[in-house]
Symmetry: D2
Subunit: 341 residues, 4 copies
């Protein structure tokens, strides 16, 4: 089959023929890919940012945001059958460690992250496990929902954690209205009655944000911290969802956070550097966020099927994978780029 393979860091991946994966363990599942999302993390992988953390050996197939149809199942698989339409939780998990037993799938002590530390989904077929599969309505087109498998679950997971902090009368800043941010806005609107303030450097992104549920928008023109303080009587926001967290945005995001508030870090790239006296004198917190649980993705699919979360996607055939990566890198993608192998 064809697959998008990274052979050398800092060079473009190559589309080449590799053997199709097959089931070996009783819980293995092979999925025929219908949609594979193209993510900024793919660019970071190519740039070698993840090399040490993932420990992956090159060459390998990238693509960590996948949906498709079940193609083959192991002997003990009961939750899906050949032909089922599925979206895949990004981490096949053991189901037996303390994290799995508590529902914190992404902290499984034995997890794999296909597309990051093993062969991923920018290919015709992907090997995963029964525990990663969420069965969908057969009418669903995998390419339409694939972006929920990583961008979606990540934004939703952060919103879900923030909901208890966001009763009516509070303010939530969405810092960055790109691929993740626009799912975050819709999730906030579906799950809370908080006042949503969206900050972005792109005026077009702010127009879309308003259509998706933003109550206020702020152009990130250098005065965005003051603008958020002005909107909140000088107090800042109870929660800032920071989908950027690089190039100074992470410092701004903390500065926009109210006394006793929480700065949720979701994007990444730069360091955050804060005087501890500022942390304790205001009791502010910096909250890490990583992908999401299997149940987070199940809930997000409920919102998607109800039309409460919609996606803007741009589709490319598998052969055009390098164009998709280049378009993403150049800022030419509105919403999410999806390969359709």
């Amino acid at each position: 089959m064809k697959a998008v393979r990274l052979q050398t860091y800092h060079r473009r991946p190559v589309i080449e023929e590799v053997p199709e994966p097959t089931v070996s363990g009783p819980f293995d599942v092979v999925v025929k890919i219908g949609g594979a999302g193209v993510c900024r993390t793919d660019l970071h992988i190519i740039e070698e940012q993840w090399a040490e953390k993932s420990g992956v050996t090159l060459p390998y197939t990238i693509g960590h945001e996948n949906a498709g149809w079940v193609h083959e199942v192991g002997s003990a698989v009961t939750n899906v059958a050949v032909g089922d339409t599925v979206i895949l939780h990004p981490t096949p998990t053991c189901g037996l460690c303390p994290a799995c037993r508590a529902g914190n799938d992404m902290h499984c002590s034995d997890n794999a992250f296909p597309g990051i530390d093993s062969d991923g989904g920018m290919a015709e077929y992907l090997l995963t496990s029964a525990r990663a599969c969420i069965k969908l309505d057969p009418q669903t087109q995998p390419a339409d929902v694939a972006a929920l498998a990583d961008a979606g679950i990540t934004a939703y997971h952060a919103v879900r954690k923030a909901v208890p902090l966001l009763p009516p009368g509070t303010v939530c800043v969405v810092n960055g209205a790109g691929g993740l941010g626009h799912i975050g806005i819709q999730s906030l609107a579906a799950l809370t009655a908080t006042t949503i303030v969206v900050v972005d450097r792109n005026p077009e992104a702010l127009v879309l944000a308003e259509q998706l549920g933003a109550d206020h928008t702020v152009l990130a023109d250098g005065k965005q911290v003051d603008a958020v303080l002005d909107l909140t009587d000088g107090n800042g926001a109870e929660v800032v969802l920071d989908f950027v967290a690089e190039q100074g945005a992470q410092q701004d995001a903390f500065a926009m956070t109210r006394r006793y508030g929480s700065h949720f870090v979701i994007g990444y790239g730069s360091n955050i550097d804060i005087p501890t006296i500022d942390i304790i004198s205001t009791e502010r917190s910096v909250i890490g966020n990583l992908v999401g649980t299997y149940n987070d993705l199940v809930e997000l699919m409920v919102l998607a099927e109800a039309g409460k979360v919609t996606l803007h996607t741009k589709k490319y055939p598998l052969d055009a994978a390098l164009d998709a990566l280049a378009d993403l890198d150049a800022g030419r993608v509105r919403g999410r780029a999806i390969l359709t192998p």
Copy 2:
């Protein structure tokens, strides 16, 4: 009356005569001080670290950790009467703002912090409000419990927030076993069955820590991060209570924190500087902590009266206040220095 007054930053306070405070508002309470704690924050105030944040005008009376006996009450005070033994929550509050209405006293939008931003308790009498008073058993000696009014409540508040994260089988690191840390250890032992690991650079403090409930102790000799990782199968601790947060301890504390764990900042002094990729790839959080609620102090007094939290104190007459400050600065105080006016 005599009071310990700061007249000039970076110079020693002066003990001088000032008028006694009197009640004017219906909820005012004047307390005859029985014990006033001496805190590292007093040193930081003298060093001008709090000048901008507090906005206080010199000269003023320091002392923000107080207990004593009610001396005079305003016309509408119903919860205490003249002669009652009381410990004082550090912030007289309005009782009407959203934070007060939710029980988050220390985030009152109209709070005062006597001893930090207005006249404090290193004096014969202190003006406070009915809402700051907790009535104690008349047998209690104020000087014996005064240290709970700030050091105690601050340590307890952080522990109380951490309790849901610390079921049996988890590990909690106490980073720093000084005045606050030794209350933190006892509070953890009273409220959880977590494994308590105490880190300090002072071997004597570690001996005391073991007596108070530490399961393991680690000397902070430069290899403390590795030592904590060794004790936790390389994982780190679910919670690190960082009572130091300066001179690199804050970086160590984050490094000791487990995937999906929380680094509670309670001490202060230096900046914390972390790559956002480390925050998100492990979903770790940095949690701010500030003093505590009125109900936190009520609960801590229950533990104290049951003998589950005990204090090591060294008492000084009011006239020896400068000796107490000098002893604290020079590391000559075991436990907490208390003035007994």
Copy 3:
């Protein structure tokens, strides 16, 4: 001034002249009533159901759901001023007991409940306290929002407690779509993405329920338990909000509750009688609910001002109070009857 006074149990109240209330304590507030809701509890008071619990001495003025304008304030009142438009939390509270200090106003150990255990608001003026006042936009008409002061806060409080149990994919049954239920439906729609199933014996109420956000409606024709089970694959609902809780509805509500689910009792009237083996073998719970906190009412006013919760009211002059009570008793009121003194 004129007031609606209950002189004898089981007889109609009388409209008569009584002295206007005046402030005496420093936190007293006298409010000129702009709207006083008429509630089923007023009928129950007349029927002597509350006599023992309230301990009230007849005659007294009923009316426990009030909004208006501040008319006179005590010497220490700072949060409202004469002329302010206010809605009143139903229980003036002490602000000092453990419940108040935790924000649980309705469990104040020293609370009063005007209109139930002391003179209420079916009159030209009402004596309350500063702590009960929520200042509103001066444009707000008190008669338009008065029903939120008791019916609204009670429904909202229950919904607010249920929110953590109602992520996407769950089902919430609203049992009874009357005065409280229709606020409950709107609050659920504003704060969750749960599937809302409304049960009522009145087909018109179900039509209104759909307009307000119900996803499914079920006529309570004797087969409502089966109908809810059919809608939920035989499982029942994660949460049943039981606004009726009398005449068998309370038994049905428990039967509609899913394994590991919660039956919220909000209405009252009959006994609930359940085999303990049914409680433990399914781990279902029965959750009591009482009015709500001050902050609950603040949040509800945010939803109301944003147009997310709207009220259907029928207004009567104070002189027509007995007509309003009669109309309510006879089922002739759509939404809530409001007196406008």
Copy 4:
């Protein structure tokens, strides 16, 4: 092998030869039983109380509280190996349904409950699954800990749910200090600093309760409700853990519960019958409890290995199973009867 088989309801079980179980599925595990607890539920099963709920077909082997050594494992089992010492979570679960994915094992939509709805552990060998096995220190004697597998987990689960309601200054009533209650007392003492009040009709049980951590004991002589109210200034307890819930104890337990408090039903037998006006006017709740999660049992084993929870057991060989059942029925067992096959 020998097994204790129920052949006819209302008649004594029979010890007879049956085939040994063997693994068939990839996750199957056969355990050689080292200890099988004898529980009041076994008597209720014989009395036909569970016939309809369990749907089990007679004859079958009872025994739902088991520990032992792994004897044979399926092809995909990775978490335990032949020879490992294990305690068994009572319900082998699917690991794939929403409840399993959230860590609520006992609500697995596909669970089995060996000893209740299928062959249990009063036998030489038991068939279970990998997901039910908790690996123990090889030094542990299964017969010493088997009682934690059902009695223990059930008491611990209820305590664990109650912990957030039990900060210092609160009161928790343990209603019934038998097999479950005495684990409940120890779990409360390990996880909270609440005041523990134990109620039992047996004076000897109260003596043991004091040794295990009770702060006060109350003889259930008909005046126990008043005694609890006297101990709590007339208020009742924040939490009542009702390990009896039959023959009127369930009504007493609710009456001992404070305003805004929670009555946890853990035992069973009779109906609970409460006026809904009592539920709503005090906002009290009745909380169902069922066994516990896998992680609950893991945590409890941590407490047991630390010596914080100890068990009183009386051991019988498998051949004496009928004696054990008779002793339990006659009240001749202190602590828990354990078969050692």
